[in-house]
Symmetry: C3
Subunit: 168 residues, 3 copies
């Protein structure tokens, strides 16, 4: 039997735990987005200066307290239903408190007022910091690779939504 020092094993376990914690954080972030839970989204980000940069109509956000405003103006409209579907990531742990990750995303945005459905594919380049026992997002940049908008007004299309904030 090898006599690997337990400290060396512990460092390897800690790395795997950090990767799992970051994956779980990102899953929680998307769940909060789809649930229009703005407080929950905010709590996924570092307190203090951050960078959130999403391609499209959303400006650079540099503090998590500004997210409320962004969400209110876009996602939290009752005629908007979103679906964030993440793909497999590459997480890199750079130090005990520093990590980065790249994630694929397929994003559906349904606008019941404009009667359109957009399907967007792209990739996040994220950075993460650990504060105490918790990993948080410190940077998130999303780049669109492909985007299609379907109109259902004139097409053989029917929307059956039951999103969390939709009018009856």
């Amino acid at each position: 039997m090898s006599q690997t020092p337990s400290g060396a094993l512990e460092a390897r376990i800690a790395r795997l735990e950090a990767i799992e914690a970051i994956k779980s954080l990102k899953a929680r972030y998307w769940y909060c987005c789809d649930s229009k839970d703005v407080e929950g989204v905010r709590d996924c980000f570092l307190e203090g200066p951050i960078e959130i940069h999403y391609d499209g109509p959303v400006e650079l956000v540099n503090h998590r307290d500004r997210l409320h405003e962004v969400f209110k103006n876009v996602a939290c409209q009752t005629h908007i239903v979103e679906m964030h579907h993440g793909g497999p990531p590459r997480i890199e742990i750079h130090g005990p408190n520093d990590a980065s990750g790249r994630w694929g995303l397929v994003y559906h945005l349904m606008d019941t007022k404009a009667q359109t459905i957009s399907v967007v594919g792209g990739y996040y380049d994220d950075e993460y910091k650990r504060v105490g026992d918790e990993w948080l997002i410190s940077k998130a940049r999303f780049k669109v690779c492909s985007a299609v908008t379907y109109g259902w007004k004139d097409a053989a299309l029917r929307l059956l939504h039951s999103g969390p904030s939709l009018p009856a």
Copy 2:
């Protein structure tokens, strides 16, 4: 070098192994669904009382032996092609034999008789039990967040399917 007792390290490894086993279980479950492999689906669930509750036309199922019936009436029709595409999960290990998890899902249902394609987004809230060395699903609740049905009869749409149980 730290002198962490090996028992403490082992508990941390066991937690990571449990998370991986549960992820693998859920991947197997979806693969069996898409393959119309009812026995395979059944074997993902605990023997004894369980709860499966999916939004929609499927009633509460409280034993894995009742799944056969449900599948026969819905998924295993030759005119139905399904695609279950899971997203990143949050798995929580509550004890050596108890866990829970939340998973995003994008689900496509193609009905070649009705000539429609439905795209459904939603989330599972699952519970898992370990029996011997094997993790099994003891509760699964799926809530729909968004659902769109496309008709292709009158639209510029062409279905090229090669699903496992489709007629030639």
Copy 3:
């Protein structure tokens, strides 16, 4: 406290690390595909004889240096935008240098010349080898489960693409 030998713990950690490395490899592979980075795709495969077998128009490929040709003829056309969105895998580690995995995939192919969008669902059955510290793909077989092609010429559909190699 248990007195598990550190060598036994190390083997369990190494297994989890191998699983994570393979997941990360596959995420990198898909990212390179979507970025039309042929060199990057090539570097995900083993040097020497391999097997890549994808349902559809792509022939069996038995060396990673032949991928360039395949990509040039299909994916790297400027009128083709692709999106590879992987699902949760089942990874099995068979030995220190041998593993296999099954992955779901939802694949979008947008052809701006033919004015069609195809959405394909299917599963990969992969094999992996470790060479030095690096896991590489030695076999990849992709089977289509479902495929739909939408035409947008005559439908209420608008394509807003910003893919990496698209004409302005």
